[in-house]
Symmetry: C2
Subunit: 461 residues, 2 copies
Amino acid sequence: MISGIFQQVSDISFFFHPISVAVVGASPIPGKPSYVIMESLKTMGFSGTIYPVNPRYTSINNLRCYSSIAEIEVSIDLAVIAIPAPLVLDALKDAAKLAKGAIIISSGFGEAGNDGRKMEDGIKEIVKETGIRVMGPNCMGIYDTVSMVDTFFVPAERMGRPGKGGISILSQSGSFASIIMDELASEGMGVSRVVSYGNRVDVGESECLEFLADDKHTEAVALYMESVDDGRRFVEAAARCAKKKPVLAIKVGKREAGISAAKSHTGAMTGRYEIYRAAFRKAGIIEIDGYEGLKDACRALNIFKPVKGRKVLLITDGGGIGVRIADACEEMGLDVAALPKTLQKNLAVKFPAFYGINNPMDLTGSVTNEEYLTAIEDGLKDDYDMAIVALLWGPPRLTEGLVDRFVETIRRLKKPVLICSPGGTFTKRMNRAFEERGIPVFTSPESAARAAAVLVNTKGK
Amino acid sequence: MISGIFQQVSDISFFFHPISVAVVGASPIPGKPSYVIMESLKTMGFSGTIYPVNPRYTSINNLRCYSSIAEIEVSIDLAVIAIPAPLVLDALKDAAKLAKGAIIISSGFGEAGNDGRKMEDGIKEIVKETGIRVMGPNCMGIYDTVSMVDTFFVPAERMGRPGKGGISILSQSGSFASIIMDELASEGMGVSRVVSYGNRVDVGESECLEFLADDKHTEAVALYMESVDDGRRFVEAAARCAKKKPVLAIKVGKREAGISAAKSHTGAMTGRYEIYRAAFRKAGIIEIDGYEGLKDACRALNIFKPVKGRKVLLITDGGGIGVRIADACEEMGLDVAALPKTLQKNLAVKFPAFYGINNPMDLTGSVTNEEYLTAIEDGLKDDYDMAIVALLWGPPRLTEGLVDRFVETIRRLKKPVLICSPGGTFTKRMNRAFEERGIPVFTSPESAARAAAVLVNTKGK
């Protein structure tokens, strides 16, 4: 046996393209998690074979329902286990005989006291003895716009499902993953693979990162971490992944209260924050400060590729907001570089004398649609790596038609253009129009600066 | 003359309850700023006398239109001047003969090069010679839900007007004030007095603070500062005001880019940030980090009074979000104090064993409406100064009826309860329901923590 020394890279790829899924505890009764899972597989259009398992029924959703996993008799990829905790061990033993992996949705394990911990140890033993791979327990499982698997058991009317996108999300917390997905969906943003592994008795972020590094459907990875499964393996996997695509992480449970909360939440020992920071740096992970930052990062990376430099051009029609964005950008380590003389001269002949042709560029309340587009096109031609456009909708000469032309410009330019539009009813309607056309809008100066910082991979001076 | 030594407290109160207003440059042509101002005075139901002034018209809005200010012949409180910059000096000279004060909306002064600066000096001379008091130029002027004056010249369809509330906002930047107002309006929040004084040749934040300190309609003051009008007077005025009500400030133009942007924006020399921080501390001002923080503060202070202690109870049905809020609260200097034994015992008999009866309190996906209310009522009875409730709408037993009961509980309790509900379509609809009932919702852990920190006046360790 040399596996202890030369660790084999495991194959967990079947979690991400299963061709057969058993739903253990499948139910035709609305409101039950397993009902939602059955419905979701239908809604998603999962094209593989579904095996409902529940001794109480003979058919569910016009599919034959099996009285036990054993009754399925053929090999399957995944068993999704959604039954009360005390029944899980027996079901998992059955599953191990014919399934490559199991997602255990059920809660009531390590997070729920001594009895739960004992059952959780039982899961670990089965994994060790049989070789079945397990996600969970106490998790939401997988939401995947490639394989069309969705085990997130919150009904669609309470939690929107994002469309196809390039971000994959790994999260110990199911609620964290759910609200990010829900928000992204409501803004028309997409995701690739989302994994909530909860108590993480077996498969965790390290193996998922190993898979995602080579996954062509994943353009960036966002991690929510309370703790780490295997520090060394994590740093290696993350470093390999970060060489190919941006890897972002938010570490929670940083301080005293957070640490004890995390412990009672997923039973995780969160460890010292400083060690995580060092590991993130070593692995090339972009550390994100909070939920807001993670959301901003997802929205930016959904449409823009990271850039090499850190020179940002700020364009606005509202002087005050421009000043605040300049501050926020510098706080995030971006370079709000002065406008080059040639660009200044070039724009001076195109714009009225009272426009502020600097960085930030203040086009004032007199701005027209045309001038905004000129400022962006000319501004991004040479020196700057990206632009933040603080587009306030007050100026009377700005019309709704600007949205389409703006979107066309953004899609044509090779450099990221982040739109920052805080405001009320009218602005929110315009923001919605941008989102419907696939362009995210950032609704505060800070939010835009955080997103820009992710694109240049800088995190403040 | 002893005024140089014993400075008299000036009276600028007529700006905030004028009984007569002249609109110089009044126009019946939609799209013109002065048209918007005339319309706004009508919409607001301003009950004083309005004198439109424009030699081209004999009547506007069924009001007699005067060919010049001089023609008005009676004393008036305010002249709102909205004409091209080169005409302003003459108009102001006329106004000085019969008006106590003028709001100069026009731009093209100190912010627009040498010629503008000369005209701005001209304004200063007129102020000095005649004693007329001036707000502006290059400003939005006043939006006031007490006096019903509104000189913000952006049409209502582009910028919503907030209803009556307790927050007064002082801002050098008109756009900053506008977007905050627009956002608050769209969320059903109110304001008291908003002043944008732009280039600030005369009346600035110090005198406004002196007025607001004693203004019974103002419960809290929020300041957006690029620079300060008179450092010593400002600290005195702010300190006096802060003894009576919370005073918040955001300082922009902190760093290099921000500083040069502010200079070209309102001609303001922003000065060293460290000096401002020291002044804020001395005056008892709560410093706010950015636009997001200012918005959060306005929303919290619109409904809740500041508290004495800093112990915060966190209640949630989503473990992960609870952990992040705990972190964010500690980062903001709040005390996420452990649950007292007696409270723990009390709740242990009311809740299932698998709920996390700690701080954060994790009511899990099994939570009911009733249990949420119990947790808040019992939790806030003794030890905690406030609560943040991270209400995620996934749990199937939470129903829309919770909103009304929640609002009733929040209004009845003597302590602040901040709701934090990030999420998509369903959540946003529930958030809207809260807002329609006058309760703000914070849509990220960080946002809720920032708001909580304002209520305890702490800004991080």
